[in-house]
Symmetry: C2
Subunit: 471 residues, 2 copies
């Protein structure tokens, strides 16, 4: 392809930044903020990625306002960084060249719920929990659940998924249409509200996973699910991670429509027990959930129990009461914070590889040996039905040797997954930290095509520069 | 966006065509064909779209050969048109500027089946039936089933779906990765074999539905499904199309995981009865199929029966024997040919709109009234679980008044669907005939973004020119 020009761009001049800041203040008053605290908060991420604050933060309330902000920035070549809840894990919200962060957290209107069509239209700042709160009385739910209570806009940007993806898919599967502000401030809608369409290029999925580098998503039409008649959840210990993974493979192959099937290694179980005051058996553990009718759920559970027994797993312990179930999944969602409790004061490093499920046991096994050899504390959790798992090394960042060792470990982990036909990120996204792996994963020509897309759609590289595609 | 330049391009010169033809003959011998019959066959479509044959047809056997052909054509600005089985319905395989058709029907190797991962890798010319034949002994199947026995490459190109889409999704949902030859002959792989990834722009879905206008798909990694333990199918008559649609809405809303739910109006039922020697009740009819365990399928069927009764549908008649089930679905898949039997000698016009399911009954109803008023014979079938339906007017193309009336009808149909937040094509694709609706459906800015993608990726407009984006 013809994308040979560099995507590098200079930092905007102080004069341009000052001019844009003045224009934003004039237009948005107190909603345009330049205080150090707010700027720093908006460059902050949950991991050890270095904070690179923007110059100005603007709290937008509508698509039209986002368009206005982008136009002001485009006129002076000032970078624009979208921000939802700041829970991304690879430095997505950093502003390496400064610029204007568009905070959409106040865009939290649920614009429509079409019950008959099982869809809804939300502004980008609506969080997944707020949406589910709103939907509950209608018997509907939105299934995608990354650990954090992320904004829907941010989840679109990173192509997020979570524990329900094995059954309900990832963000790429649940978005019908997007409203997007492009790099010149133009507003487009990517698709109609029809459940399927063959009417031209898939603009919707062009923006899903584009991390704000091609445009800013301001409204999203989402597919919803009916809350199942029956839900049951349970835990099943296994003698080894390999036995647990083998049970997962057979469960998926057997066509059991499991809604969640999550692996915690024994280190993570210890962390969760301590954090959530639970008494889970401290061995590799699968957490499961089944959705369906009363009879269907019972049948699924029985069949899974038989499979688990084949791999010396069990006993299979059911949480039939909703409150026990909630506690279990809250514990799973808090795995990140629980893990941090294993080494107070240490920083947590997020990792996120995904391999074909046939390679999962091998990949997790080799990774555990690597952890052991390195002497790190690094629990593992995984959306194993999809072949996706996270290792969470806990690192004393004041110790350069430890930091270096951890970076080398993460590098080996990613390359191990790539060598098994996997990906460097299953759901967290590329941000700043995974950019260096894209060429290994995709090849130079495919990466060049991505670069071409970026250059064509954002020719002045003002949209979240320095993410996905190198500066 | 900045895509203001026209995509028009001149017809290549006779000298360039002659030179490319000579080069192709030298390289591919008897696999490069310029006979009138073969050329005409390759511009042929199943509908009334005018035949525009290419200058040369080359039967490619590998990705590398496709790359060579594209490079030869690119060097002289000669158009390249991909061809699978020629079963597309909107003029996709026509060559309005002449050029070289790359026939991939001989690329029919199934390169790998990964049973543990529920995926496989196929060449683009493998047809859906050949793939399922190959998979059957392994207990796996590939669910996407357009009416024709299309090639997988063609199904990728048009973002095809079919009767199973309500449960298993469309082509956009079942492709893990593609090998694509770009407009300069470069070969890329769009993704790894991991079940999910957030590693950059979604190149896979950029090409799904791009109809050969951005590149030629040569290999496809597909998700597969386990053949369900139990399958049951049935038919259920309804007093009206509206009652049938309302039953569909409630079935979907209730979360019954129906595998197929197809509508035939009474005209189509008459056609099917005559064609397949069946005795289906000649009223609006739902054809259903349920996949699951023995108990699960029984439960689903009972619950559907209750819903049908609420809308005065029934009796609900079960085809429990596999041969009866096959006959039923064969009859459904033959609906196209059955319909043609209603008016021997007439041409059949394919239509394909899709609306949010809440608008389906209204859209089908208004369309039936329109058919009645126009005096046409035009049966209706629909993948109604997705809000997608096809009207198939039968037209005497030697009668200009009839042709004009039919074109006006199709135009009203599409605009009706668009006015209901629907799409001008649910699964057939844009080809030549739906281009004029893209701006109404997407808006000028979004269409301009599509144009920009086309211009960036295929700057000399040699890839299937005159499809999706105007010449």
């Amino acid at each position: 392809m013809n994308a040979t020009a560099s995507l590098s761009r200079p930092k905007p001049s102080d004069a341009d930044i000052a001019a844009v800041a003045a224009e934003l203040t004039q237009r948005f008053g107190g909603r345009a903020v330049s205080s150090a605290a707010v700027r720093e908060q908006h460059g902050h991420t949950l991991t050890w990625v270095k904070n690179q604050p923007p110059d100005v933060v603007v709290y937008a309330e509508t698509t039209e306002e986002v368009s206005e902000i982008v136009k002001l920035c485009a006129a002076r070549g000032v970078p624009v960084i979208p921000y939802g809840t700041g829970t991304s894990l690879e430095g997505h919200v950093n502003a390496p060249l400064g610029g204007v962060t568009v905070d959409v957290s106040q865009m939290k209107a649920i614009l429509a719920v079409h019950e008959e069509d099982l869809d809804c239209v939300v502004q980008a700042g609506v969080t997944r929990k707020a949406l589910n709160e709103h939907l509950r009385d209608r018997g509907l739910f939105f299934p995608i659940d990354p650990g954090a209570d992320a904004s829907i806009g941010g989840m679109v940007a990173t192509r997020a998924s979570g524990t329900n993806a094995v059954r309900y898919g990832t963000m790429k599967d649940v978005v019908l249409s997007l409203t997007v502000v492009l790099a010149n401030g133009e507003v487009i809608k990517t698709a109609s509200r029809a459940k399927k369409s063959s009417a031209g290029y898939d603009l919707t999925r062009l923006f899903i996973g584009s991390e704000g580098t091609l445009g800013i998503v301001t409204e999203i039409t989402l597919k919803l699910q009916g809350i199942p008649e029956a839900i049951s959840a349970g835990i099943c210990p296994f003698p080894s991670v390999k036995a647990a993974c083998d049970a997962v493979i057979m469960t998926i192959q057997s066509g059991i429509p499991v809604a969640r099937i999550e692996l915690l290694d024994e280190v993570q179980v210890r962390a969760v027990n301590a954090h959530a005051k639970l008494t889970l058996p401290e061995s590799p553990l699968l957490l499961l959930e089944f959705h369906g009718t009363e009879a269907g759920v019972k049948e699924q559970a029985e069949r899974f129990g038989e499979i688990a027994a084949e791999f010396e797993g069990g006993p299979f312990d059911w949480a039939t009461k909703p409150e026990d179930r909630s506690r279990l999944w809250q514990a799973r969602h808090d795995a990140y914070w629980a893990a941090r409790g294993l080494r107070p004061g240490a920083e947590s490093v997020a990792t996120d590889v995904c391999v074909p499920i046939s390679r999962l046991a091998e990949c997790v096994d080799a990774t555990k040996q690597d952890i052991l050899a390195s002497g790190m504390i690094a629990p593992i959790v995984g959306h194993v039905g999809d072949g996706n798992f996270h290792v969470q090394p806990l690192v004393d960042v004041s110790n350069p040797a430890e930091v270096e060792a951890c970076e080398a470990f993460v590098d080996r982990l990613v390359k191990r997954a790539l060598s098994m036909e996997g990906t460097c990120t299953g759901e967290h996204g590329v941000g700043q930290k995974k950019m260096k792996y894209l060429e290994i994963e995709h090849g130079a020509e495919a990466l060049n095509l991505m670069r071409l897309l970026k250059q064509s759609i954002d020719p002045h590289n003002i949209m979240n520069p320095g993410k996905i595609i190198a500066l």
